[in-house]
Subunit: 314 residues, 2 copies
């Protein structure tokens, strides 16, 4: 079934890259955009919130979109939380968003293994946060590593043999605040020595808004480390890979040309929307400044300061 | 002066890559090799020792080469030790090697900054071992980070600002057994936010013999992490970069065609020798097996099981 959907999706998008200059959102094109799409896909960090702070006007804007019958979906590359943990974060910020509306890269990693019929007797080693471990376990897989290996140390001694589980058939790598040599060594040995072991990256974002004030190294840092030690390239399941789009399409029974991807990053969000054949709206409330946007490569269809401009313009 | 030497070196080597199949060392070509070179450049791990164990026949072979008037140089990508610490390791293993005969990638990082007139008021942040910090300080630079940041933790809190020193003008990355998020964040901020900050890699070996029994992630792992978070490529000073060759040439006043590089790695040692225009001898006592050598790309001039075959063949 996923294969059919994938083909249908690709058929809607013969030429995903866009070179026309982005249009600043105004009263006219904002209304036309709303009329032309049935679903809005939102990135979270830099779009809905920054760190733990909601961006101005979000609750009212989401309410307006729901009142007009638009489907809302939240697609985030941040893998540190599971969908259950994300639904809690939305609730804490005063937003009513259900688990089914959330597509995180931690969930995508679990779904990638499910779709590809990962053998149930095999195990998954995690370099990353609790969200990845939870999603893998929720999908029925045996996952270990992650936060529980945060304090472990490799013994640098002569004649020391670092033992690893030969049943590990996949290593999933995401943002890991507790990265250490032990985890890097464990994941490296599995990928280099267990025949057929998969190397899956939740995403490759170089940096992200770990706090309100600063960008800190993202999953691209840990993924780069494992690329360096294994001389392998990962399977990426988060944006800009369109892997998650299969699930969205299946769930909401929509055409990608009737969707709009809203994000703050050209290299993940906007590229993800374009790769899938969606309309794209860049908001300047996150990592991308207007001067970056002036570079003519990879232009979104529209841009505006923040999501709530949709509310004030309509 | 370095520039002149570099040009001279390049002139001796119009076509560095070799495609002819490697010759197995025998009594005839071993003697011809000895007669045709004035200096032997040795890699250490997998050539002289494995972990903390000397490879069979090394003392006698080095003794024989010295007795025939050959210069001996030890060129290692392992940056965890300084040259002083390496000289101690040689002594502990019963080998008499002076500090001046040792060219480690930690020393190369310090020399790179010196040759490129790194401003003395600027500082260097180190992701790596004590060897790098010592070599930088020995060369007169202000270096920090490294082992002393091994237990530090970044605070993942809302409104947290991670402060970094704006005077850091270079980040040197090597093998780091105590890698953590704090160091990755510190190095990333310096490279991304301090104008003109250099990103120097001691080397990019994917794995190395950290113990006698197993290969563990090498500096390529930490370098890959910083590439992932900064979206920058490093200046590499270790093998296969020929940066260290300038110093060798200056010191020993030799022509590169009268040198033989002896190593266990095709992608660093043999390539380094070829890039510089040296003769090359691969030993199978380290990471490269005969079956890997059967791949016709990047062939050394000669191969043999171990360094001491030179002694038994002559």
């Amino acid at each position: 079934m996923e294969q059919g959907l994938k083909e249908a999706m690709e058929a809607t998008n013969p030429n995903p890259s866009s070179s026309a200059a982005a249009e600043l959102l105004n009263g006219v094109n904002a209304k036309a955009l709303l009329d032309s799409v049935d679903a809005f896909l939102f990135d979270c960090d830099g779009v809905i919130w920054k760190g733990d702070k909601l961006i101005d006007g979000i609750p009212e804007t989401l309410e307006m979109l729901r009142s007009k019958g638009k489907k809302l979906v939240f697609v985030t590359n941040n893998s540190t939380k599971s969908r259950i943990q994300y639904a809690n974060k939305f609730r804490t910020l005063g937003l009513s968003v259900s688990q089914d509306e959330i597509f995180s890269s931690s969930f995508a990693a679990a779904m990638y293994l499910k779709v590809n019929q990962f053998p149930p007797q095999k195990k998954v080693y995690v370099i990353g946060g609790e969200g990845i471990v939870q999603e893998l376990q929720h999908a029925g897989f045996t996952a270990f590593g992650g936060p529980e290996d945060g304090e472990k140390r490799a013994q640098w001694k002569s004649n020391c043999l670092f033992e690893h589980d030969k049943d590990v058939g996949a290593v999933v790598v995401g943002l890991d605040p507790d990265i250490n040599y032990y985890k890097l060594q464990y994941g490296t040995l599995c990928i280099r020595e267990n025949p057929g072991c998969l190397f899956i990256a939740t995403n490759r974002d170089s940096v992200g808004h770990m706090t309100d004030l600063q960008e800190w190294p993202g999953a691209g840092c840990m993924v780069g480390a494992i690329c360096g030690s294994t001389e392998r390239e990962p399977i990426v399941v988060g944006k800009p890979s369109t892997f998650m789009m299969d699930f969205l399409l299946q769930k909401f029974n929509l055409s990608t040309c009737r969707m709009c991807m809203v994000g703050d990053r050209l290299d993940t969000d906007i590229l993800f929307g374009q790769n899938a054949g969606c309309k794209t709206l860049l908001v300047l409330s996150g990592v991308t400044t207007k001067s970056i946007l002036d570079d003519p490569s990879n232009q979104p269809d529209y841009y505006t300061n923040k999501v709530s401009d949709l509310l004030s313009l309509i």
